[in-house]
Symmetry: C2
Subunit: 450 residues, 2 copies
């Protein structure tokens, strides 16, 4: 092992957790990212003699699988998020730091934050996740926002709700039609969820609320360049999902790529379509922090890690979650929450094994294996698909299954209860309680020019 593992500890702590002398001697683990991978790694090290610093740009852990519900006004932002400090308040070997990583010096075992602070580490876990990718069309980002953070969700909610307001105030039928044309690009789980829920909003939630438009006349299109929606599911379930989407009122277009996206519409296979609201659910790329490591990366920017999730040439640095590129049985491990949690827990086990071997106890650093418990996606009201081993469900049973799983895994008793009440309310009333437009200046563009 390296001999510079214990860099001097600068005691800024006025509320010491353990006697400073003893604390300074503990190995330091820096974990970047409080998503599923980073948080699960942190929790798995709760009983180890380490000092952990968990760094995140946001103050909260986000339950990303329900993010589309915030974007479609079914849930409030705080319903699916919890402050990282609060989750970890009882774990005394962790400190949480709000900040952004600006640099990683692998040789000096140090991470620099964008406020200039440097944190030394013995072990580093990079779990900063993924972001949207526009496949070289970064100019599409303005017109077709993606969904990765709560701020993204609130911005999409704002756009969706404003579109109906603009349609109501439209002067011409062309303008009205353009505001009532919605497109979701990408037929993966997020795209399917967004399109299905949006169709439900137009057909049910907004019923009777407008006087000049009929929201049910809104056109919701789901655009998938590949041959079928939900490509990670068996073909039979893809077909069922497509049928359920169509029953909800979504027009599903597969096999044609989007060529262009602008403020007033998009182009599909050379055909221009007037549509003022386009949502991007098509591509993800790894967090740019992966590029701070001198390590091989795949086409999506994910770091190609060793079997134990360590970075080649840096046994003390690990990558977990969506930022890690892991092959298993010839296929990539998917970028889903269970895989991220398993990677986080695995990294904790490897770090523990390293600590033991430093203490002279022989401990094996095992290879990571993803245990695929199954795959599920919701489509809309009473519509979902579930693929768990030999179990294949669709429609109402799948929806109930999805609901129970998601509420069960949501962090915190209060959140679960509130989310269940909100769902029960939405189920019986067709209402979505968070239909509140936030953000400055929701006034429409000036139309007064002659």
């Amino acid at each position: 092992m390296r001999d510079n593992l214990h860099l001097p500890f600068r005691p800024r702590n006025e509320v010491p957790v353990a006697p400073p002398q003893q604390q300074a001697a503990l190995p330091r683990v820096v974990i970047v990212g409080g998503g599923f991978a980073g948080l699960w790694a942190t929790r798995a090290l709760a009983r180890d003699d380490v000092r952990i610093t968990l760094i995140d740009r946001r103050n909260h852990h986000l339950f990303q699988p329900l993010l589309y519900q915030v974007a479609t006004a079914g849930l409030s932002a705080p319903d699916i998020a919890a402050p990282l400090r609060h989750i970890l308040r009882g774990q005394r070997n962790v400190e949480v730091r709000l900040g952004e990583v600006a640099g990683i010096d692998a040789a000096a075992h140090s991470v620099t934050l964008n406020d200039g602070d440097a944190l030394g580490f013995d072990y580093l876990v990079l779990a900063s996740g993924a972001m949207h990718a526009y496949f070289g069309h970064d100019d599409w980002a303005t017109h077709a926002p993606g969904l990765k953070t709560l701020d993204d969700a609130l911005a999409i909610r704002r756009r969706l709700l404003l579109a109906f307001e603009r349609a109501e105030a439209a002067e011409t039928s062309e303008e009205r039609a353009a505001w009532l044309n919605f497109a979701v690009v990408g037929g993966g789980p997020t795209g399917v969820e967004l399109a299905g829920t949006l169709a439900e909003i137009a057909r049910h939630t907004l019923r009777n609320e407008f006087r000049r438009i009929d929201p049910a006349e809104a056109k919701v299109r789901l655009l998938e360049a590949g041959p079928r929606v939900l490509p990670s599911f068996p073909e039979s379930l893809s077909a069922k999902a497509r049928a359920q989407l169509q029953r909800l009122g979504v027009e599903v277009v597969t096999g044609v790529p989007v060529d262009a996206i602008a403020a007033d519409g998009y182009s599909l296979g050379g055909q221009a379509v007037q549509a003022r609201t386009v949502i991007w659910a098509a591509g993800v790329a790894a967090s740019p922090l992966g590029a701070l490591l001198a390590a091989p990366r795949d086409r999506a920017g994910r770091v190609q890690v060793n079997a134990d999730l360590s970075v080649p040439g840096h046994p003390g640095i690990f990558v977990a979650g969506d930022l890690a590129s892991v092959q298993q049985d010839g296929r990539p491990v998917p970028g889903v929450a269970p895989a991220a949690k398993q990677m986080g827990a695995h990294v904790a086990r490897v770090i523990r094994a390293r600590l033991r071997s430093r203490e002279g106890v022989a401990a094996l650093a095992p290879a990571f294996r993803y245990r695929d418990f199954g795959n599920l996606a919701t489509i809309g009201r009473m519509a979902a698909v579930v693929h768990f081993g030999r179990l294949r469900l669709s429609g109402l049973p799948a929806w109930w299954f999805w609901l129970l799983i998601h509420v069960f895994f949501l962090i915190g008793f209060r959140n679960r209860l509130i989310v269940l009440i909100n769902w029960a309310w939405a189920y019986w009333s067709y209402q979505r309680h968070a239909r509140i437009i936030l953000g400055q200046d929701p006034a429409p563009p000036d139309r007064s020019s002659p």
Copy 2:
């Protein structure tokens, strides 16, 4: 009466409510503002043969008395707001229009929106409320945000939560102390609520969550230039409120005006105080829309209306709510929710009387009288003051009274239930579920310069 009351109706409506010929003949009422005054006026006209357009810059009615709970992370934004369209979906004589009023032509009976559209009216109700005022110190607005909208509340929440994060990351004890110094300017109900709740957050909610600071060491000061807090209450209750604030850990400073507010602190009676977080709850001014009427206004910009709330010289134009300056028994009617609701309902009665008298039925346009049912303010956990006629309560009984009244008046069954659950949760756990920092770039300022 004027003979140009019925301007031609431009039928843009493709989903007509009544036969267009019949509808075009109905008197048009334009109501600006979906707060308590505007919404209550709209609802009171539900059974009248009028066509109402309700215009608001926001898509929601806001239950302003609980806005401080959103600012202090106890409630989510959607918990205290409901879309105006949804509230009014069953009232077929109303259309809701999202937009901002840019001009009022009283002679031509027309209102212009900022998208250029013009709406003709027979009756106009201006109920656009109030905003913060900095008494000629508009430069203070950046450093001491006020609380009037949900966006304001989310911005204050962000500041309060970030202050503790900055304190945790501070390099020096001076910097740490400046981040842990909070000041609320203004000892009215909003200031008292904010200061009391902020002290509770520092002492209880954040306990055990930080490693380098003790949040309970935060200093929360309530600054009131006048001789006592809650000046609209009897002196005995002001004294009780002060004692309750002090028990919660708030330092109450009365009788000294704030001279200056800057990014790093404020000056109080010539004494500079380092404090990075200052909240403004000191002054309100009327909405600038009042200035669009050629009518006398008081010092705060409120329109001085006739006894029936019509604007002098314009019998078809009314002002209601916080924008109206009404004297009663030698004292101004206060800018509180019950007064706004009563004014809104009163304007509806006057409009109805005018319609009857046009039809040849003699109907009296009565003078507005404010019925003061009482006054109540919350201070913090189990602390409040209540003044209802001869009833004077403080402490726990007042808090229960306040809680029941506020939840009872909150619009919508679902909101009430969710708010009650959130309160029950907060009560037993000391937790506040909405501690989520939203908004771009919560990263701290760069400190890396040598």
